[in-house]
Amino acid sequence: MQFATQSTQAMNRQSFLRRSSSVLGSIAFAWLAQPSLGVRTLEDRTRGVLRSLPYAPKAKRVIWLTMAGGPSQLELFDYKPKLASMDGKPMPESFTRGQQLAQLQGQALVCQGPQFRFQRFGKNQTELSELLPHIGSMVDEICIVKSMTTEAINHDPAHMFMNTGSQIAGRPSMGSWLTYGLGAETEDLPGFVVMISTGEGRTPQPIAARQWNNGFLPSKHQGVLLRSKGDPVLYLQSPPGISTEIQSRDVEAIASLNRFHDMTARDPEIATRIAQYEMAFQMQTSVPDLVDIRNESSKTLESYGCQPGDGSFASNCLLARRLAERGTRFIQLYHRDWDHHSLLREELPLRAKEVDRACAALITDLKQRGMLDDTLVVWAGEFGRTPMKQSNKGPAGRDHHNKAMSIWLAGAGVRPGFVYGATDELGYAANENVMTVHDLHATMLYLLGIEHTSFSYKFQGLDARLTGVEAARIVKDILL
């Protein structure tokens, strides 16, 4: 197919340049091929708005593993012997006074010791739950942060806060910020991809499309949901009865007619339209190729623990690696079932099993391919869980909690085999090296070469930033 003639490309270039003087900031084409002409600035190579980066970037891309619902750090990462000894005793009021709780608000507060054992793993003998043996086996590759906090205590606002730095809907998601700033290194795949898996659990969290919305940034920075059922990308498949060949003829006819029209209309949008049809058509081939994991070796499939087409979190981890290889900038995976108000003992091991092997396989796989050095992997929920027992929803669980949560990071200049921060003796609040969501964002941007205070977009009269208006700290302690 012969779409992008030289003149089309030149035209694209022209309309591109015309746009680049826009104060509104509608600058780069999203994931659209831009031939490089003349001087190659950063902007030329990646089609993002940032012309140069203040820091040498360690990370080229991000894989964000979101454990939606809020996994219990007290069973997985943050072992508290004192809490074990206080099991069943009232939670000292000195800890909880004045604190807003979610479902435990107004209830008698009772300590609940860790429900699972911890073991020591790796060179540094890092303490980790027995539920995470595979992550344990590569614990020397990751950096665990035990002192994470957030501001929200309900799922929806907490996800928004984690993804956009604001609890109010309408702000761009991290992935949108990054493709806006840095573009992507792929020409036929989206720069920001989201995948969601449910697992075998009971109460999957609803995940709104706003979690990958571009907010006030141009729409082309919207995340694209890669689905495991039906078309992997919405409307990707040609209508029944229309083969790829026939589809290409129609697209070609559309392009010709649009080109004829452009001769009289002289509208720069027409060249863009033609290019976008070409891109759409390319995606019709490149995306099915991307999601087809049948040609991965059986060893690889086994290490992740997935089967082609099973739509599991493990499959999505493997797809994340494939996307990373193909140049997607920001890949976000959701596992939807970590909200253990009840049945913590029964459900947590099952959920841990669904992610443990796959997470470890992802890190190992990236490392083997030499990609861990420039891929930042983050594993986090939207908040943590209380050291207090919740028993008003059936067999014991834990409530939402924003004063302490554990996350881990790996790759791309993050200090491996390191544990950062700590909580008090009952695991109620982070009290050493506290890390906020804004800190996490600032640090992440730093690894990508971006200074968070100067990466902004004019919105409602403010230079809006991912890290918000409050001070945020680049946590260099967790970096190499």
Binding site: A30, L32, D44, D156, G170, Q205, A208, R210, D250, F260
Partner: protein
Amino acid sequence: MTNPSVFRVVLSFVYAAIGFTPCASVTFAAEKLEFNRDIRPILSDNCFYCHGPDKNHREADLRLDVREEAIHLKAIVPSKPAESKLLDRILSKDASEVMPPPESHKKLTDQQKETLRLWIEQGAEYQLHWSYEKPIKASIPAGKNAIDTLVQSRLEKIGLKPSAPADRRVLIRRLYADLIGLPPTPEQVAAFVNDTSANAYDKLVEQLLQNPHYGERMAIGWLDVVRFADTIGYHSDNPRNVWPYRDWVIQSFNENKPFDRFTIEQIAGDLLPDKNQSTLIGSAFNRLLLSTEEGGAQPKDYEQRMLTDRVRAVGAAWLGQTTGCAQCHDHKFDPFTMRDFYALGAFFADIQEPIIGKREDGMAIKTPDQEKSLADLEASLAKAQKEYDAIRKQLESAQQQWESDIARYSITLPELKEDSKASKEAKDRAKNVSKALEKSAKDRKKNETDTIRDYFLSQGTTLFQEQRDALAKAQSAKDSLYNALPKCLVSTSTKDKRTVRILPRGDWMDESGEVMKPALPQYLVQSKMQSSSGETELTRHDLARWIVSRDNPLTSRTVMNRLWKQFFGMGLSKVLDDLGAQGEPPVNPELLDWLACEFMDSGWDMKHMVRVIVTSATYQQSSVASPEALAADPYNRELARQSTYRLEAELVRDNALAISGLLVAKVGGPSAKPYQPEDYWDNLNFPRRTYPADAGESQYRRGLYTWWQRSFLHPSMLAFDAPTREECCAERNRSNIPQQALVLLNDPTYVEAARVFAANVLREKSGSDDELLRRAWQRALQREPTTSEFATIQKLLIDRRAAYRDDPKSAAQLLKVGIAPILEGIELTELAAWTHVTRVLLNLHETITRS
């Protein structure tokens, strides 16, 4: 030109050569500088953050937004740049001295520094921020169109010439798109092109203003700005009843309800002395915010979210002020304070609503006929009730007798006898009754008492059966009518108002802040407003009256600026939601002021304003720009031509449905569910949901009736930039992305539309390929194809026809898309081949573009 910076240099050279101002910061040495145009943007962007209105963030006690203060601290010494500290600091080479400080990442250009110097030299005069000054109406020579006069005087000044009028086809397409959002038919275009009467255009305008689709077209923007949606937004994102409000908006535009009244009914439709069903539906505005049903959500948290949501809505819809900033601190650039923010929020503290949890069903909406029927049924019910009440005592004593008989003789209820053939439900019910009967009357819970009474009346006695049946019948007759009525959330005022406090740093857990009473934003109010209700506190009605009063300089400007975008593609001030310091001063301030004054002078007459705009010569210009014109004014801010832009999401759909002949033109009604990819709602929960696409005519409704699921908006709408309406949206993006191509190529809606379009072309007119191809082209674009265009679709037809003759199976598969029946009497392979022609036509850039 190989890199943007070179291009920019060339551009500024072009600007300089023609003396044209691309933005306010370019200066003219010869002309006196104006604070609002030339200085304020520089100060606001670079200095006000630390030396502006926010007292908590002010450095060195210096504020540069107030002249006296800046002079007092000698930052500015009028006419003496050399003595002005401001200049010292901005020119300093010392990193510890220079302003703005390096760590702020703000930097003044040499040109900006020079502008500031010149301004001080010229006397450093200030102006009130432009939008806080009352608009002044320019005097226009009699018989002249004000828009044309004001645009042309500006064009003369900067040396640009207006474009020729657009041709008639373009004009009618433009008018149809802008006024009713639908394409004209080829016949309508031909009639207009051939109408030689002098007032042909004016007649067309009048006709479209009276068209019922006018209200639908106008509603789209308003529904964005008030964030109208069918679901609650947060977490489970469950449905709520608000669609009658959408129809109320459409109706209001159609009957040309004065905009002041339109405003008052929305904010205070429940408080009006002449309130009625319609004003109450208007008051649904107050209920359009986001709410949650999430377990564990804290009332105080959401009380605060709802308050701030409402303040932002008033700011966005009417004031053009980014009030949201003041939730946590005084606005950094505008004089809007935290007090103003919470005082504005306090107006809404009387609205009765659950803070957490499911919304109520809302008010039942009745037509006059239904109202009468319902009144009749209620009267019958009251009568039946009265007759029943008369016998109630006797029934009660009969029940007592029955109960004591059961106790005394240990009677087993018939259903519980061993040989009973009663159903399981009946047995279970009898068991419950018999268990309840074991308790003494005073120990029974309410549901137990009810269970016994219901059982007794249905099984234990035949006494007064006739009266009882009559009552049940009357009740059910009334219920079945009532339950079938549409419902709408509306505003209800309660005396038991929520307490509104200033929340320090926006923290809802902090209860130390001062309690706030309703009050108007201090900086905008010249005279104290008296409450109309005789209450001690101002009410929502007072707020609404002030919003549309002459005292408020913002509303008419905000609304006219938004309206302008509908007709020219961009606002006169391009930041539609911010007429404050960080927005953009209008390119042609006299024009925006004239529109704002005329709007108020006309009695807030929306159709009048639309008419004034579309009958101007400025509106009727051609949109084709010469390369020189494009270089001189790339964004068409100066209006030396019309603009070209893609149709809005809803209209992309409407356009395809209208061209194909599928569109159901009905106005109003419950939201519709067009085809949507299966499993698109998989990520919703509490409860899990499926999406049953509508069958029958609801499948072919206009885009604005699409079910608006906030967390998962219909993906075709989303692809074309329809906002999710989680927040008020004054301005939509206008993107050009690959998903749009995927939608138009592959969404069954468009595949079906292509098929039906093809069938209609083939059915309407038998004839040669030649005639039919032209006919199809005409329907989509209302013009003749050029020779090359014609050749392209002709080849497509011939190729597809040949291919489908060899492969009829594929033809049959393609034609199965969509629920519209396949027209009898057309060969399937032929229909499939034509479907490719029509599909290509529906995908053209020109088809989805308003020019």
